[in-house]
């Protein structure tokens, strides 16, 4: 069965050394983060706040396009999609 892939920014490897491209288990972004938590315990709290919203300085691209729904994570993706988790260029 074909499945979308999550690709994580290298910046997260500092906190999750075993991080690698991971099959996206689920039909929504919220579901796949829930599943990613099983592979990499704690990672969900690095990407989402406790109300389930994408953190302000985290970006998600689906097949090259920035997602639009940062609060409910309802942007669609397909079985062949690549879902990139990136950090926004911010800070100092």
């Amino acid at each position: 069965m074909c499945m979308a892939t999550i690709k994580f920014t290298y910046a997260l490897k500092r906190f999750f050394p075993g991080l690698k491209d991971t099959p996206a288990k689920g039909n929504t972004l919220a579901e796949i983060f829930h599943a990613a938590e099983e592979s990499f315990p704690g990672i969900r709290s690095y990407l989402l706040d406790e109300q389930g919203r994408l953190r302000q300085h985290v970006n998600i691209f689906i097949d090259g396009n920035l997602i639009k729904d940062r609060n409910d994570l309802n942007d669609p993706f397909s079985d062949n999609s690549e879902i990139y988790i990136m950090q926004a260029l911010s800070g100092g």
Partner: protein, 361 residues
């Protein structure tokens, strides 16, 4: 007894200085590059805590039982699903602004203060933290609390009474001082005598800005606060406050205050030039000390830069222990005094912005 370690929370990591043979040297650097809002050593067991404020990945909490050699991440305080700061504004932890142990009778208890205004308690040594609902549901919160120093209300001060560890005072910017006598089940407002010049009614019950609240270790009924609108002292456990600022001198506006651990009448503040300017006054850095409960203040400048200086001292970045005093500044300077501030030595001119300073063993 002077403590021999200084723990720093900085914009670029946790840094520990240790003194041996009268020389200070860096003992540990952890979380290099990460903002550490509070570095805290629990005096009951020596556990170090690092409250991280990742720009990208949110607020995180780590602890070390071996002086920073190894760290363990524990779940950071999180607001229950659906909680709101105000109607329509979801509540999520934005910053850890205060940490305190729960006392020697509650060895597993820890308190955390956060932006946006939630107090959290752990009863399992920090394995997990829960929101203190009684304060979160206080009728004044949604309507009367506001941002001050940060965009949303924040708890920056947690003062546990060593005589009765169910008795706490907390400081909130902006709301003021709150007191519980029953371990956090119920809360009373303790702002009588404070002044909030930035409100239409300066004598308002709620909305005050105590930049930092501390108690005298030898007399916990003596409370001090460096408030946005001056320095205030209470000798009756916060039931009423008296202003003890200098009418003309530098001891007035600032963020930090510390009280001597052997004298409730002796305290130090780190003056800054008014809330409009917020730099060292006339380019010269000074600490002020009172030895008589705030009636008189003495400028302590020996060894501190006296020209072209822009440093100010954040609310958690001034500390005392026995004869010693230390403070860190917004421009990354760290100063130490072996004699209650009479003279100062520079420990480092090249640190990151310093958020917290604590003496520990």
């Amino acid at each position: 007894m002077n403590k021999q370690t200084i723990l720093l929370g900085t914009r670029k990591g946790l840094i520990a200085y240790h003194r041996s043979n009268s020389r200070w040297a860096v003992e540990n650097l952890s979380f290099e590059g990460q903002p550490v809002s509070i570095a805290y050593s629990d005096p009951r067991n020596g556990t170090w805590w690092a409250c991280l404020d990742h720009g990208h990945w949110g607020v995180k909490l780590h602890r070390s039982t071996d002086r920073g050699e190894n760290w363990e991440e524990v779940p950071a305080p999180a607001y229950p699903e659906g909680e709101e700061v105000k109607d329509g504004v979801p509540a999520a932890t934005r910053y850890i602004w205060a940490m305190s142990h729960g006392g020697k009778h509650y060895l597993s208890k820890l308190w955390l203060g956060t932006d946006p205004g939630g107090l959290f308690i752990s009863e399992d040594g920090g394995d997990s933290f829960q929101l203190v609902e009684s304060l979160w549901q206080h009728p004044s919160r949604k309507t009367g609390w506001m941002g001050g120093g940060r965009d949303q209300p924040g708890i920056h001060s947690i003062v546990v009474d060593p005589r009765n560890e169910d008795h706490l005072h907390i400081g909130i910017s902006c709301a003021g001082v709150f007191e519980t006598m029953d371990g956090g089940r119920s809360w009373e407002v303790r702002n009588k005598g404070l002044r909030a010049d930035f409100l239409p009614d300066p004598d308002s019950d709620i909305g005050h800005d105590p930049h930092i609240l501390v108690a005298a270790p030898t007399d916990p009924d003596t409370l001090w606060q460096q408030n946005h609108c001056g320095i205030f002292r209470s000798v009756n456990g916060g039931m009423s406050w008296q202003e003890v600022s200098q009418p003309e001198g530098p001891a007035r506006f600032g963020f930090a205050i510390t009280v001597a651990d052997d004298n409730p009448d002796q305290a130090w503040v780190a003056p800054a030039d008014s809330d409009m300017v917020r730099t060292a006054i006339k380019g010269a850095l000074c600490i002020c000390r009172t030895d008589d409960g705030g009636k008189n203040w003495k400028d302590l400048r020996n060894g501190l830069p006296q020209e072209n200086c822009f440093d100010i001292v954040y609310r958690h970045a001034l500390a005392s222990s026995g004869e010693t005093v230390a403070f860190g500044t917004t421009t990354g300077n760290l100063f130490f005094s072996p004699d209650r501030g009479e003279c100062w030595e520079t420990l480092n001119n090249y640190l990151p912005m310093i958020y917290s300073v604590q003496f520990t063993d």
